[in-house]
């Protein structure tokens, strides 16, 4: 469907098929040549990127039962749309206020960038070269947030962060009522405390891996911000994001050993840290068993 839309909008069949594949998979490697292809094209791209960042179980449920109120993924989908609108407006307003673009270009580029980075697809970093640091920072935050669970997007995922945010608010209430029983709900669902604990473990490990990798990458001789950007990009599977924080030549300037390190980091991010460490732990224990 995406390929057909892109083809109708003027892309060759080959380009349309490729673009559809990389956009739906939130890969992003085709976006450099297409992100300045006119308003209609931008809207089509945004729609596909939003679709790919959405909860696929939600779509399955919609196909089976239609749009119902009790669809378990509806809350997260609404939160994602609110995030895109909020971040898009914030970036657009700042781009316009800082004089980077006029109002219409600010809106178009702001919303496109917000969608592209929330879905961890990324977009042409050359287009972002003149953007103020604030907007780039918001985009980096968006790739950390990522899309919905059960989507092709990377990042921490909206549902997880929503649970942690709600749990923090509950903890704030417990400051006043120390004997209060903590009840955490997120996006219309009750979350057991054991699940909150697991999410916190995941979050702390994810952050530790991000900082550890950034520190290791800084040994490659790149600037601190480039190291952080690269670490974030590899972990969240949003390649072009690496160039948001640092210099454009960051990938080419590194040695092969560091590129291998980035490969491991990408796998770590794609398998969501725990699974990757689980595989390593299993391999190690098997190796230990041979002795």
């Amino acid at each position: 469907m995406a390929a057909a839309v892109f083809s109708v909008l003027g892309l060759s069949v080959f380009d349309a098929v490729n673009l559809a594949m990389v956009t739906l998979a939130t890969g992003g490697c085709y976006t450099p040549m297409t992100s300045d292809g006119g308003t209609l094209f931008s809207l089509a791209m945004m729609a596909v990127m939003l679709f790919s960042a959405g909860n696929f179980f939600f779509y399955a449920e919609v196909t089976r039962r239609g749009l119902t109120v009790d669809n378990p993924g509806a809350g997260e989908m609404r939160a994602m749309l609110r995030l895109v609108v909020g971040a898009g407006l914030l970036i657009s307003l700042h781009l316009w206020r800082s004089g980077t673009y006029d109002i219409s270009d600010s809106l178009r580029n702001g919303f496109f960038a917000a969608t592209a980075f929330l879905s961890t697809t990324g977009m042409n970093p050359v287009l972002l070269a003149g953007w103020p640091d604030f907007d780039r920072f918001v985009l980096i935050l968006l790739i950390f947030i990522g899309g919905c669970i059960a989507s092709s997007a990377g990042g921490l995922k909206i549902l997880r962060l929503s649970v942690l945010a709600n749990a923090s608010v509950e903890e704030l209430r417990r400051t006043l009522h120390s004997r209060m029983v903590l009840r955490v709900s997120a996006l219309g669902r009750m979350v057991p405390l054991s699940m909150v604990g697991q999410l916190l473990s995941f979050f702390s490990l994810y952050t530790a891996v991000f900082f550890g990798a950034a520190m290791a990458l800084s040994l490659a001789g790149i600037a601190p911000l480039s190291a952080m950007g690269l670490s974030a990009a590899c972990l969240t599977s949003a390649g072009p994001a690496a160039l948001l924080a640092g210099d454009v030549g960051v990938y080419t300037s590194m040695g092969e050993g560091w590129r291998l390190f980035c490969c491991a980091l990408m796998l770590l991010g794609r398998l969501e840290v725990f699974s990757f460490l689980f595989v390593i732990q299993t391999l190690l224990s098997r190796w230990e068993g041979r002795w």
Binding site: S168, R173, G197
Partner: protein, 483 residues
């Protein structure tokens, strides 16, 4: 909300602040500098506010609840910041915002300054700067409880609202006895540091000031070049040692006094703290030496000092902003970790960092063996899931505020890495960071907006977020509902 109780305690805390101001007042009189009048006026303001609190306030057993305790502690820190600002602004040394920034930076132990040349200030004002860090280091409420003639159950909530760390670290059953023990340890350490600095060659006035800001893990110096001014290995070694001492839980010192040195061997946090220092120093030493920034001995000297200083006080013995990228990333990480819980250092705290890592490791282990009962241990004891949850949520809130403050600072046009460094430094109350706020720079050039953001974020970081955040909830201020 029982407002009369809040006013009662705020008034008395204002008097305690006035008592503290007497020290620089008499110093000013002794040195016959121009600050005597401004200190006198500041003391008068404290007396007035204290008098108003005495007149309006009322206290009886049982009136103070958690709500009032939090309100008193939160408002006391804000009020003290404003009272601490008076000598700077009334003496026309700084503007209103700059004075407030310097005062908040002092009481919270942030240690960031807007003064390009502190040595030009009168000695009494320099002493007041250092004194704010010393008082704020242990906590205003702790000093207040110690000075109270009778401290019953009422002040427990105030103490708990100010105390930092993931668990209650009560070393004595009675709160007043405990705060008295803490103050005695604090004074003893400060005297030891002052003597050590003086022996190493520091001028007596400087030694007293640096001892207060070192043990309070603040980082204010009487010289614009900080510790680099002395260019002395002996002084740097002494400061490094004292910083390390100040970064350890004071309750642990009391336990060592009671039960002997074996307590240190059993304490996970203390061992982790020393391990972080050792690994940080070694990595920094290797990088500085490998990159040819300094020779092997000088690299070790600067590495050890900066590793200890950046995690707590924010002193500088060299311009680390010129160091390699890895060194900067490592320093940023150390800034976040901070010192031990129950010490004067802020930041995430070593105990939380250890618990977070053990939590993650336990979770991986649990995934591998789903039927296994996995527990997280600290000091040989199982940590309850409730404490682990609080630690995790604190970490989440801590990162949230770093991110939010960075974004707000960037709105004012500050470059991204500098803004991130500034917010990490502010939340962890370190002081200097990188780039525009590197060790050779001050916070003077920034707009009042950035300074206000930093003041708020530093106060939040010092009181570990929840105390001040809960005061922002509208239902916090509502009257109790009666049945």
């Amino acid at each position: 909300m029982e407002w009369r109780v809040v006013f009662y305690f705020l008034g008395r805390i204002a008097w305690v602040c006035g008592i503290a101001l007497l020290i620089p007042f008499f110093t000013s009189a002794a040195y016959a500098d121009e600050a005597t009048f401004s200190f006198g006026l500041s003391i008068f303001c404290c007396i007035l506010i204290g008098g108003a609190g005495w007149k309006v306030g009322y206290m009886e057993e049982g009136l103070m609840t958690v709500r009032e305790g939090i309100a008193v502690t939160g408002l006391a820190w804000i009020m003290t910041a404003f009272l601490g600002m008076l000598p700077y602004t009334l003496g026309e040394h700084l503007s209103f915002v700059d004075g407030l920034f310097e005062s908040v930076s002092g009481f919270t132990g942030f240690g960031a300054t807007v003064l390009p040349a502190p040595e030009l200030l009168p000695e009494s004002v320099l002493l007041w700067r250092s004194l704010t860090q010393w008082l704020g280091g242990l906590g205003i409420v702790v000093f207040f409880i110690t000075l109270l003639p009778k401290a019953g159950q009422n002040v427990v909530h105030m103490y708990e609202a100010e105390s930092v760390g993931p668990t209650e670290d009560r070393m004595l059953p009675r709160l007043k006895e405990m705060t008295e023990a803490l103050v005695v340890i604090y004074i003893a350490l400060t005297v030891m540091a002052a003597m050590l600095f003086a022996i190493c060659g520091m001028h007596a006035f400087d030694a007293v000031n640096h001892a207060m800001t070192t043990i309070g893990t603040g980082g204010f110096s009487t010289h614009s070049d900080s510790i680099a001014y002395y260019d002395s290995i002996a002084i740097e070694a002494a400061v490094t040692f004292c910083i390390l001492v100040a970064g350890v839980s004071f309750a642990l010192y009391y336990r060592v006094y009671i039960r002997g040195w074996k307590v240190l061997k059993e304490n996970t946090e203390f061992k982790a703290y020393l391990l972080i220092f050792a690994i940080g120093t070694m990595l920094l030493w290797l990088v500085l030496w490998w990159d040819g920034i300094y020779g092997p001995t000088e690299s070790l000297r600067y590495a050890a000092f900066q590793t200890a200083a950046i995690s707590t006080t924010g002193f500088a013995s060299a311009d680390y902003d010129r160091w390699p990228t890895f060194a900067k990333c490592l320093l940023l990480f150390l800034m976040m970790v901070g010192g031990c819980a129950g010490s004067t250092a802020a930041g995430l705290k070593v105990t939380r960092a250890v618990l977070l890592l053990r939590m993650a490791a336990a979770h991986i282990w649990q995934r591998m063996h789903p039927r296994m009962v996995v527990s997280v241990r600290m000091n040989g004891e199982v940590v309850s899931p409730g404490v682990l949850l609080r630690v995790g949520l604190f970490f989440f809130v801590y990162l949230f505020f770093i991110v939010a403050a960075s974004a707000l600072i960037m709105l004012d046009g500050v470059p991204m890495f500098d803004a991130i460094g500034m917010s990490v430094s502010a939340v962890s109350t370190v002081g200097p960071a990188f780039g525009l706020v590197g060790p050779t720079e001050t916070y003077a050039p920034f707009s009042p907006f950035v300074k206000t953001v930093l003041c708020c974020i530093t106060l939040l970081g010092r009181l570990e977020f929840f105390t001040l955040l809960v005061m922002l909830r509208p239902d916090f201020w509502r009257e109790h509902k009666g049945w």
